[in-house]
Symmetry: C2
Subunit: 102 residues, 2 copies
């Protein structure tokens, strides 16, 4: 059973996420970030890479896309909050998007 991050883990990891452009979501234990790409092709290319990884590790995003913009939210349904599984996917998102974003 996946566990929510402990306070110590949150203190250790969240500052770097916020620094990288992730935001806490109001009213629930989740983080979101908006990625802006050059166009739809780049945006959906990002989504495709995230989707393949997400399905492989069975941990899926909530996301909204319009044209070159992808708003992606991570939280873990099974523990109703942030877990290590979110941190792993967040790191992967940052890595995939890095060549395309400031």
């Amino acid at each position: 059973m996946v566990q929510k991050l402990t306070q110590e883990e949150r203190d250790r990891h969240l500052p770097a996420l916020l620094q990288a452009g992730w935001q806490l979501v109001d009213g629930r234990d989740a983080v979101k970030r908006t990625f802006v790409f050059k166009d739809f092709n780049e945006a959906f290319g990002f989504m495709a890479r995230i989707a393949l990884r997400a399905d492989k590790v069975d941990h899926h995003p909530e996301w909204f896309n319009v044209y070159n913009r992808v708003e992606i939210t991570w939280s873990t349904h099974d523990c109703q909050g942030l877990s290590q599984r979110d941190l792993d996917m967040i790191q992967f998102c940052n890595q995939v998007a890095a060549p395309y974003t400031p």
Copy 2:
């Protein structure tokens, strides 16, 4: 320049869309539908097919996905409302999703 649907065209086409599960969006001239699939793999497979067509015809959706659910909205930015381009993509969405949805 793409034109908004005329009233005659709306009267001709919208009833079938509403019958097929599309809804008018409050506050703007757009339609949306929620497609529910078996799982994320099916949902993202649908999205991938829509994305390829959308980029080919340069007419892109607004969409939200979480796990097996895809909420997709169509409207045409250039004319600030529904156009034939939306009808074409709506028909393609219905066709791609048909084997997966009731």
